[in-house]
Symmetry: C2
Subunit: 424 residues, 2 copies
């Protein structure tokens, strides 16, 4: 099965969560907007100065310049204060963001004005030339007009979106409920870090690392994560654990146990409690992947089930390629204001960069090579692509998306997906 | 002052925090490693199969193939179990990750083997050809050797690094203390969202949005943030508030009040309590920026002070360009395993992409234009670059770094800095 086909099936099975919560804007980082946000304000709310300088009437300045005269400074308007209408034949000292007084139609930068005090202690300002009407004025509603949709429903909220919402006066925001994800690990050989010291590890035992990065990836994507530990070895206990997790979660994620030949109690248990598809996806790293569901006893809806490969690199990459878009869909993320093309529905958009390496052996599967940009603007390859440990992923700052059956010669332009775009 | 010069001064003034804490690996996302992490293990810890298939002795398989005979399947080795040495003239059913039995020197993929049961119920396997010795075997220590430094001190920890540490058995990690940052807002015109409804806003008042995105940006960069609200209006109270904040924080951040002409109690107060430099940085958006310090009464060390422009877009962009690298330096972030070239010390590396817009008016300052990648792989420009609201930053997925005095014609390649690389 191709990656696109798997993604289509997976996204087709994902209904966005219903419901909505109200959360404080300061606490909404990573959440997904449940409603369009419309502005109740014009921004700016008043014509104001975009510079520190002098608010003037252009015709008066032109006359003063022609006559070789200065104009009186009749008032001083700091940000946050409204001044009275400009007195005839005078200007106002004004600061960035301060409201333009009535009668003024331009601002002149302070750097272009000679100012001082006359013998009576009255401030004056001398101009070199008359400004254009409208110069250095930000008009009311120029940035946002009252009633405009500034953030559409489905936007994933980040620092800029939250700042924007705050600037419209919104101390709270309507967001989708958090996705509740239960994490199970499976595999007889797994030992939790901290339980057994490295020197005391039994032959064949390996540390469970998948739960660590999966929990962090899920939290970064705004999920509420319950780590339910290692799946018990006995069938009845597994059934009970899955049934119980399904009642209070939207998604159960496991890793390991999805290969054809692996010993596993989870697959038959999920099959019995709902349904399960096992896919062999033509990607490397990756390949085995399970998607299923578990019926809920008393409630509407189902709990989704996703089974990732046990190999950490396969599990990590498969998460980024398949589970991330699946989560986004469940969370109701759509093309928000800040979402790049295609980012909501699948892979982030790739960037074409030159390979500074050779990859002479084509594979039957589409490959995702761990690479890093170098100082020369090209891509270096992590030398051990077959590694099962996450060194390649930690070392790399992105993936090269290499179609099946293709090789790379040094200098070729290849599609690069930045890791930062996959982890946020 | 150029951006590079400002960055040099700022980084020169930043001494990395001393001290170290031990935190659970599961809780260490975003933290910075205080020590090199060396592996106490070989990974893999034993020769193992990289495929589901059959562990074989190549010479025996060659002989069996030549004789047209099958070989007995004398054992079954799932992952996590050690089998005995291979019996002569037999093979072992083996699964991905399972230890290779003594006497085996290759693995044959199950897809290339015809297997079944003979009349006595004994499993057999028939091979098409003899494998190469070493085929589909992951060697002990192939990925990580005992004693290797796998994560250097100064690495910012993310999902891959945490997974890697867990795979080495580390349930806890030595990290730098969190940077304690106090956030002050300044400006008479500022109103907190939620305090006054949009329709009741006084003329000239604007909502304080900077505290919202600054708090979120700081938290994303692993800081502990205290929001100390709006700086009081009276000098003595301002002095006391700053003095107190300096005792329990490593950095005080304010926005607003750093322009030449702005009304502000903070500048003179910081000057009185320590020292302050006001810089005019030749960037757009941006420009006014303050860096200073406040002496601590009873303690060693100083509290840093950073003053950002009040305009939200200027404040946001200046944070990304200057404060982010400053924080990284204070946090002791160095070129970790996953840090791209230059990412630790300044701007993330730019990528050359074609502009799908014209920018005909050169500016005397270096400009950071808010842009977004389009479906054609080019960059679209946010139409209102002069806007004070954050719409451009929320809409964009990156910045074009345009040198002073330069214009852009449609089709030109321009340096693009992805926003995702700046927010993590």
């Amino acid at each position: 099965m191709s990656l696109e086909e798997a993604l289509d099936k997976l996204l087709g099975a994902a209904q966005p969560l219903v419901g909505q919560q109200t959360v404080a804007t300061l606490e909404a980082d990573g959440r997904v907007l449940a409603q369009d946000i419309r502005s109740a304000l014009d921004v700016p709310g008043f014509d104001n100065s975009s510079m520190d300088g002098y608010a003037v009437n252009c015709v008066e300045v032109a006359a003063a310049v022609a006559a070789g005269q200065a104009l009186a400074v009749s008032q001083r308007i700091p940000a946050g204060h409204f001044g009275p209408a400009l007195q005839p034949d005078s200007v106002a000292r004004i600061f960035t963001g301060a409201p333009l007084p009535a009668g003024a139609d331009a601002v002149v930068m302070q750097e272009e004005v000679e100012s001082g005090l006359d013998a009576q202690g009255q401030g004056f300002a001398r101009f070199q030339r008359a400004p254009e009407p409208g110069a250095f004025i930000r008009r009311r509603g120029e940035d946002v007009r009252q009633g405009d949709t500034v953030l559409p429903a489905g936007t994933r909220l980040g620092p800029a979106e939250l700042g924007l919402a705050a600037s419209l006066g919104l101390a709270e925001l309507p967001v989708r409920p958090r996705l509740r994800v239960a994490l199970f690990s499976t595999g007889d050989e797994l030992v939790m870090p901290g339980e057994v010291a490295p020197q005391d590890m039994a032959p064949g035992a390996i540390y469970n690392s998948n739960r660590y990065f999966l929990a962090v990836l899920l939290k970064r994507l705004g999920c509420e994560v319950s780590d339910l530990g290692i799946v018990p070895d006995r069938r009845e206990v597994t059934l009970a654990a899955l049934r119980q997790a399904a009642e209070s979660h939207d998604l159960i994620v496991t890793s390991g146990g999805v290969s054809v030949g692996e010993e596993d109690h989870v697959k038959p248990a999920v099959q019995q409690l709902g349904g399960l598809d096992l896919w062999q996806i033509a990607i490397k790293p990756g390949k085995p992947f399970a998607h299923g569901w578990i019926a809920r006893a008393g409630q509407v809806g189902r709990c989704h089930f996703v089974g990732l490969p046990g190999n950490p690199v396969s599990s990590f990459v498969t998460f980024l390629l398949l589970v991330r878009p699946f989560l986004q869909r469940l969370q109701g993320v759509s093309s928000g204001l800040g979402v790049s093309h295609a980012a909501a529905d699948g892979l982030p958009q790739a960037i074409s960069l030159p390979a500074h390496f050779d990859w002479p052996r084509a594979d039957r599967r589409r490959e995702f090579l761990r690479v890093r940009r170098n100082a020369a603007g090209g891509l270096d390859l992590f030398p051990n692509q077959s590694s099962g440990v996450l060194t390649s992923v930690a070392w790399g700052d992105g993936l090269v998306d290499l179609p099946a059956g293709r090789t790379i010669a040094r200098g070729d332009s290849v599609p690069f997906i930045p890791m930062a775009a996959l982890l946020g």
